[in-house]
């Protein structure tokens, strides 16, 4: 009897394969969604004519590559220097105002690269507030009498990008200093090392993996940037891809450039791996006692405070104050225009949709990796997370033609069957945009879900399963309640990233569909400054959300998730 029963059950058992199959299949589908644009890039690039390519090689590629490499190298130096220095300042020393600096140093994260460039173009304009003030002080009357170095240069871009992107290095390095350096620093001091000696001999080598991770994130952002380089007149690869498609409608050319860009990304990842070699970013789970900070008094304390405030002022204070003043003037003068309200709604709408999908799919890939014990699932999670290394322009170029193909197919089928043209269902609607956001930011939600799940002991899964709950039911009844804070945090990060996203939005938005970011870009590109400040301010204000979140999570107080492992 039981043999017959077993045979009858066999096909069912094969289909269900323990409940894990559904999740693996879903995770595989998600990974496919992420890979699709990369594969498409290769296909499109292959269709390009040799002529276009030789034109690109002769006239576009050398300058674009040189500028990109210069920009990456410069920004890399600035973020490592400022980020590590600031992290050491707030972890090794104590002085009045340190606690505020601790989180305030994260503020520049709220300012996207294109907004900092937009603000400084205004601020440093020959007849702008800063130069005017300097002339007043020196008693000069004409802008021609004083020539400051032009901000519209590679050097200017390096400084501006560096001072809004250093928080990536600050965040990871500070966490490492707090977690691991304490005991070692004390040990080094008892061995007679000076504070400066400790910084160079203990702290920096110890923090090398954290510095590498932070710097690589900052450089990914640099590669992604299209607005700042355009406003500042730096012809980078990203900008060249954008203009090759927008201005010359040369999709294969843009795809070829995008592949060059991918090569740069791969190189960047390899450099990061090399910089982290033989070390893991192994934060101990339990926080050790906070390091004994050296108390500063008098002039040194003041100098430390000033040093810490400098990057905040450059990366956040000055542009934010400028935007507030400009926005208030604009609103006093003309009120809030209807168009900016529509744009805000558009922005929130697409960002919210993308966030929901990204968090859902992120959970799928992270959970699949968990229940598969990291065999196939782990690989799928890595693939699904590739998007974060892909600049928005690259994803957009890769998506254009498969979506158009899909649209044509759907349209054709619909016409044949129903006689109705569906038109450009995907590429003509916000769907394409949402797709691109999801691909780009799936790493954030997937990583958040993975981090949350990793704090939940595997034995909880096994308990639930042996108590009669399925894999899916276990997720719902055990994991979701436990990882809700982690998922919420991931959702906020994804939402804000979507709101700030410019390059993919520029390329994929439907006709006459403006978000706050594209509006700002449009006005800056045209040289008109009407509602631009209001849009920029709105983006910066929303961008403060994750800063608050990060400040709370990385603060001296143990984050809330700590309670979960009782």
């Amino acid at each position: 009897m039981s043999a017959i029963a077993a045979t009858l059950r066999h096909p069912v058992a094969a289909l269900k394969c323990g409940g894990a199959c559904v999740w693996i299949v879903a995770a595989a589908a998600t990974a496919l969604l992420v890979i699709a644009p990369i594969v498409a890039l290769g296909v499109i690039a292959a269709q390009g004519s040799g002529d276009a390519w030789s034109h690109l090689v002769a006239h576009v590629l050398p300058t674009a590559t040189l500028n990109t490499v210069l920009l990456l190298a410069g920004v890399g130096v600035v973020v490592v220097f400022v980020g590590t220095g600031a992290a050491w300042l707030v972890t090794a020393y104590d002085f009045p105002g340190r606690r505020i600096l601790d989180w305030a140093l994260l503020l520049p994260l709220a300012v996207p690269t294109y907004i900092v460039a937009y603000a400084y173009l205004d601020l440093l304009h020959p007849i702008g507030p800063i130069q005017s003030a300097i002339r007043d002080i020196l008693g000069l009357t004409s802008p021609g009498q004083l020539r400051l170095p032009d901000i519209r240069s590679v050097g200017g871009a390096i400084i501006l990008l560096g001072f809004v992107l250093y928080p990536y290095v600050y965040l990871s390095t500070r966490a490492l200093f707090l977690m691991q350096a304490a005991g070692l620093v004390d040990a080094a001091r008892t061995l007679g090392a000076s504070r400066r000696g400790i910084f160079f001999r203990i702290a920096v080598p110890l923090a090398r993996p954290a510095i590498a991770i932070g710097a690589s994130l900052a450089l990914m952002e640099t590669l992604n940037d299209v607005g700042a380089s355009e406003f500042l007149g730096v012809r980078t690869l990203t900008l060249s891809i954008y203009s090759t498609w927008i201005n010359q409608s040369n999709l294969p050319g843009a795809a070829q450039l995008a592949l060059v860009m991918l090569a740069v990304v791969v190189l960047l990842v390899l450099i990061e791996r090399w910089a982290r070699r033989r070390q893991r970013f192994a934060g101990r789970s339990q926080r050790t006692a906070p390091p004994a900070r050296q108390r500063l008094h008098g002039a040194p304390a003041l100098a430390a405070l000033g040093l810490g405030l400098l990057p905040i002022m450059i990366g956040f204070g000055a542009p934010a104050i400028h935007l507030v003043i400009q926005a208030m003037r604009r609103i006093e003068f003309a009120g809030l225009s209807d168009s900016i309200l529509t744009e805000a709604l558009n922005t929130v709408g697409v960002s919210l949709a993308a966030t929901i999908i990204a968090v859902g799919l992120g959970l799928v890939v992270a959970y699949a990796a968990r229940i598969d014990h990291g065999r196939i699932g782990g690989g799928l999670l890595r693939i699904a997370s590739l998007g974060y290394a892909l600049p928005g322009t690259v994803i957009a170029i890769g998506l254009l033609s498969p979506l158009a193909g899909l649209d044509n197919m759907v349209d054709g089928v619909s016409r044949d069957l129903f006689g109705i043209s569906t038109g450009l269902l995907l590429s003509g609607s916000a769907a394409a945009l949402i797709y691109a956001y999801v691909v780009r930011f799936l790493a954030v939600s997937g990583g958040g879900a993975e981090a949350g799940l990793s704090k939940v002991s595997q034995t909880l899964d096994h308990s639930a399963r042996t108590l009669g709950e399925t894999a899916t039911g276990t997720l719902r009844r055990v994991h979701l309640p436990l990882i809700r804070p982690a998922l919420g945090a991931a959702a906020i990060l994804v939402f804000v990233d979507c709101m700030k996203e410019l390059p993919a939005t520029l390329l994929l938005r439907p006709l006459n569909f403006e978000t706050l970011a594209t509006h700002l870009y449009g006005e800056a590109a045209r040289g008109t400054y009407e509602d631009g400040a209001v849009a920029a301010l709105a983006i910066v204000l929303v961008g403060l959300l994750p800063v608050i979140l990060l400040a709370r999570l990385s603060g001296p107080v143990i984050p809330r998730q700590g309670r979960l492992n009782s």
């Binding site: 409940g19 009669g468 399925t470 309640p481």
Partner: protein
């Protein structure tokens, strides 16, 4: 293994011979219960046949077979990495075997014909860290597995289960507010309340301090006996195994080294690792000469053993008798003596041995350090194995 059998047989009466694990028997080790069974012909609650699982090229569980009658408690013991936990996870369905079958109450749950996921196996499982759901109260933890039971009845059963383990009144507490012993009791109640056909326990007592551990172990055994639940307990602690199990299976390198009652494994270990696992031993390396094995305790006849075969002779610290004044030529000097409470641990230096023998003697009237004493061991208490 054959030579081990030969050597063990040296010191055993013929009647004991069938206790020795023979290759043809080890296919399925039948574990008959000590206590009388209501239905002696009932199929085993758990049947494991030729079960294997490798991680990469390392076999974690290697062609293991086992049958457990309903209501029995079986302990899987062994050192870490011996495969005992993996075997438990295979039975639970948390791992898929490479080959072989697992049958629970006549239904194949792992094997060539089927793989039933853990949630449909009708098993209960307890974990070393208890795995209580931190976001649920004690009562809700216990209710977790009773979803298909009507709410009122489920609550009633959960409350009864909590009362049974002495946690009535703590229903609304959260796991983090409980002591280790209380958490263990909640875990037991939670695993038992759905009425599993088979209860699996993975190191259920190892996170408790010694005193709590003894109490909880006895309570747990009582609950299991009362409900007649077939149970497999994985433990690395021989005390746990001997105290709670009807039968003990010792694993080593993914295979069964020996199985039997606590007494059988303790008194008649089939191999040196088994003997070492259950008791700290004095080990003496020697060899067979002229069909005799010479030991400081006298010569043992070894008729079937080849000349020159290296052997390890073991003696338990408690089996060495000391007496004074010393008579005869078996004498040694006491070089240290440590009080263990009711007994003393004595280090005894004797001629011909590099290391002193460890002897456990009653504290009452134990000889003092520095004294020369006579010693003796019943030859039947010596354990002889191929050199390990």
């Amino acid at each position: 293994m054959a030579s081990a059998g030969q050597i063990i047989a040296l010191r055993r009466p013929a009647a004991e011979m069938d206790q020795v694990l023979r290759p043809e028997q080890s296919d399925v080790v039948r574990l008959a219960s000590v206590k009388p069974k209501p239905q002696p012909s009932a199929p085993p609650s758990l049947l494991v046949e030729d079960l294997s699982l490798s991680f990469g090229s390392i076999p974690a569980v290697d062609k293991v077979s086992l049958a457990i009658p309903a209501g029995d408690i079986v302990a899987l013991v062994g050192h870490s990495g011996s495969g005992k936990s993996t075997l438990l996870r295979l039975i639970a369905g948390l791992e898929r075997p490479d080959s072989g079958r697992v049958v629970i109450n006549g239904t194949e749950v792992s094997g060539p014909n089927a793989f039933v996921p853990p949630e449909r196996r009708g098993i209960g499982m307890m974990f070393q860290d208890y795995a209580l759901f931190p976001h649920l109260s004690v009562l809700k933890n216990v209710l977790f597995g009773l979803r298909r039971v009507p709410a009122g009845e489920a609550r009633e059963r959960a409350r009864q289960a909590l009362d049974r383990v002495g946690l009535g009144g703590r229903e609304d507490a959260f796991p983090h507010a409980l002591s280790g012993g209380e958490q263990q009791r909640v875990a037991l109640a939670r695993a038992m309340v759905p009425g599993p056909d088979l209860l699996l326990m993975d190191e259920p007592f190892s996170n408790l301090d010694r005193r709590t551990r003894d109490i909880i172990r006895d309570e747990t055994t009582a609950v299991l006996r009362e409900s007649g639940t077939t149970t497999v307990v994985v433990t690395h602690d021989p005390d746990d195994a001997m105290r709670i199990a009807d039968r003990i299976v010792m694993m080593q390198g993914g295979r069964f080294a020996q199985s039997g009652t606590a007494e059988e494994l303790y008194q008649h270990p089939a191999s040196l690792p088994v003997a070492r696992f259950f008791c700290e031993l004095n080990e003496i390396e020697t060899a067979c000469r002229n069909r005799m094995i010479a030991t400081p305790f006298g010569d043992i006849p070894a008729p079937g053993t080849a000349e020159g075969t290296p052997v390890t002779v073991c003696v338990r610290p408690g089996d060495i008798q000391l007496f004074e004044p010393s008579v005869g030529d078996r004498t040694g000097r006491i070089i240290s003596s440590q009080c263990l409470g009711e007994t003393v641990l004595i280090h005894l230096a004797i001629d011909g041995l590099d290391r002193p023998l460890r002897v456990v003697a009653p504290a009452d009237g134990a000889p003092a350090t520095g004294r020369t004493v006579g010693f003796e061991v019943e030859t039947g208490k010596l354990l002889v194995f191929p050199a390990g």
